[in-house]
């Protein structure tokens, strides 16, 4: 659990009663909303969030306040969407936010909706989070009963309705235009941009889509001020970030730390290092779609947007996957390529066909039927996918594929040389083959 002194988002994590309105209110909850609706103008809220340096925590890292500023000033019908379709492999932080502290996200959503002039907000939760949807719906009901939602909120004249929308199993709906299409009641296939959703989104009206973790930070920022938030972190990566850590470390879980903490410190002091008998081999730092880094390349990298970019990877969603020495990297990339192949929405040819090619070639290598040409073919298929599709799903498959191949090439080559699989002898689960 979070042990940092910067507990902006995680102060109620792990607490059984943290999701209750009474607890949230007793700890200062909805005070930020009272202050905002008690006399602040929407543009003041937008300016404060912009000045705080808060960046989108879903993966793209785009400044939240800047995104809000793209909504046309004369727009009469604006929609606000909270993206809780958390499905990037390795990521489970939004689940913690909504499970342990749904009111913080709800309050953040109301303030954010006010800032952009929305009268209807959706919280889009992935369908697999069944229990969580009930929990958030209960919290929304509580907020309605307390007068934080509905007509004339807290006597301010501001109206906002909120709908908890249940997804139904589609990774692609985490992409903001896929998510919007999904709520419109069609396949969750991403749209061509521009126009961006802030100009023409849901029902072709201006729409803001923000990640749970981004909106959850908004009440704190409004209460403590932009400067206090910007004082945390680095010059360009401001504030705190939730990291969801999986794999064989002593203490996996969700942690809130200031941006910029070196990986070594986080790994040793928070995660407790590897479980006994395991050695760190590699880290996928920001969810499965970002490039993998071998242990020696990540150890001294500060965990912030810029430093991770310079190191050749990305901060992404903060879904940190710890890979132990005992793992077979070709087996792991097969798992990931199966995932992207399975989740490609099929709209763009490079992605629809490319993800299938990558998966089949890796499978062929592991069957011991690879030829030297197959490694070249992997690279060639990657070249034909990267940056050539409507949404970043193709890139998301290419980045791990290329980096696994580049950083752990001997593990691929040995399969060709010996022409038989090495490492784990267990077959891929039957019935799951394409």
């Amino acid at each position: 659990m979070a042990t940092s002194e910067h507990r902006i988002l995680s102060s109620r994590f792990g607490r059984k009663d943290g999701h209750k309105l009474s607890v949230y209110e007793a700890e200062g909850g909805y005070q930020a909303l009272r202050n905002v609706l008690g006399g602040k103008k929407p543009e003041e809220v937008r300016e404060t969030v912009k000045a705080s340096g808060l960046r989108g925590r879903g993966g793209a890292g785009f400044p939240t306040g800047v995104k809000w500023g793209f909504v046309p000033q004369d727009a009469e019908e604006v929609y606000f969407f909270v993206n809780a379709d958390e499905s990037e492999p390795g990521t489970f932080k939004d689940r913690y936010c909504l499970d342990y502290d749904p009111h913080m996200t709800i309050e953040g959503t109301i303030i954010s909706s006010f800032a952009v002039g929305a009268k209807l907000a959706f919280i889009y939760i992935r369908g697999e989070f069944g229990w969580l949807i009930d929990r958030v719906q209960k919290a929304v009901d509580e907020a309605y009963a307390a007068g934080y939602l509905g007509q004339d909120i807290l006597g301010s004249g501001y109206n906002l309705e909120m709908i908890v929308h249940k997804g139904a199993g589609a990774y692609i709906c985490g992409e903001e235009t896929g998510l919007i299409n999904s709520v419109e009641g069609v396949k969750g296939q991403p749209r061509i941009k521009p126009p961006f959703p802030a100009v023409a989104g849901f029902l072709d009206k201006p729409t803001i889509v923000n990640n749970v973790e981004s909106v959850a930070a908004v009440p704190w920022i409004m209460t403590h001020g932009a400067e206090a938030y910007a004082a945390i972190g680095t010059e360009k990566s401001k504030g705190s970030k939730l990291w969801s850590v999986s794999g064989p470390v002593k203490n996996p879980g969700v942690y809130e730390i200031p941006l910029g903490m070196p990986f070594r410190e986080f790994f040793n002091d928070y995660l407790g290092g590897m479980v006994d008998g395991e050695k760190l081999k590699a880290v996928i730092v920001g969810g499965s779609s970002v490039p993998v880094l071998p242990a020696d390349e990540i150890m001294d990298v500060p965990l912030d947007y810029e430093s991770l970019g310079e190191a050749g990877t990305m901060l992404g969603s903060g879904g940190m996957i710890i890979i132990p020495e005992s793992s077979d990297m070709v087996e792991l990339i097969q798992v990931l390529m199966h995932f992207y192949f399975d989740e490609s929405c099929g709209q763009c040819t490079p992605c629809r066909e490319g993800t299938g090619w990558l998966h089949r070639i890796v499978k062929k290598l592991r069957r011991g039927e690879g030829t030297p040409n197959d490694l070249k073919l992997l690279e060639h298929v990657c070249d034909g996918m990267m940056g050539l599709t409507i949404c970043p799903l193709a890139d998301a498959a290419v980045m791990p594929m290329r980096s696994f191949l580049e950083k752990f090439r001997p593990e691929f080559e040995v399969l060709i040389q010996e022409n038989e699989p090495t490492g784990c002898q267990t077959r891929w689960p039957r019935g799951e083959q394409e």
Binding site: Y171, V183, V186, D342, C345
Partner: protein
């Protein structure tokens, strides 16, 4: 075609019909209510049969193609009756590293089915699932609305024992009882 028979047998409770009308009321356009309406039908019947599609075409003023497109695009909607207990084991990267394969092999042995199959008595279905968003708690399995986490063969045995007795096993995400 058995459609007419199915049509005759198709019946939704008054609560579900009312909830569908409530959803349509709440959503900004009729068509945008499609996903939650499909959920309402599936929640009652455990799948969405063709007459359910007919109903939504009429209520939401959408084409059959559009309803089918949504039904087939999203993996959680089912158009055929489901087994009583659908066990979905995450086989993505974090759970894989933490031993999901062993859990799957154990379940295949215990249930006598392979991944993607139902037991002959229709009591269990074993499926693989992509990342369930519980990576730090792996290996994990989804059963109904809940997650069963930190799975071991022993834990799986206990879970199957509960299900065999017709009891709902205690899920890691179910904290309601403690409240």
């Amino acid at each position: 075609m058995s459609k007419s028979i199915e049509q005759k047998d198709f019946q939704l409770s008054a609560e579900t019909l009312a909830s569908i009308d409530g959803i349509i009321e709440k959503y900004p356009t009729k068509a945008s209510a499609l996903m939650p309406c499909l959920w309402a039908i599936q929640d009652e019947l455990n799948h969405v049969p063709e007459p359910g599609v007919d109903l939504l075409m009429e209520k939401l003023d959408v084409t059959r193609a559009r309803v089918h497109e949504v039904l087939s695009f999203y993996t959680m909607y089912r158009t055929e009756p489901q087994a009583e207990n659908v066990l979905q084991v995450c086989h993505n990267i974090s759970c894989h590293i933490m031993g999901a394969r062993g859990i799957i092999a154990h379940l295949e042995k215990k249930l006598g089915v392979r991944m993607g199959e139902d037991t002959p008595d229709g009591k269990y279905r074993l499926e693989g699932a992509e990342c369930l968003g519980a990576c730090g708690h792996g290996p994990v399995m989804q059963l109904g609305k809940h997650m069963h986490e930190y799975l071991t063969p022993e834990k799986v045995d206990g879970l199957l024992e509960d299900l065999g007795k017709g009891e709902t096993p205690r899920a890691d995400t179910d904290r309601e009882l403690e409240e």
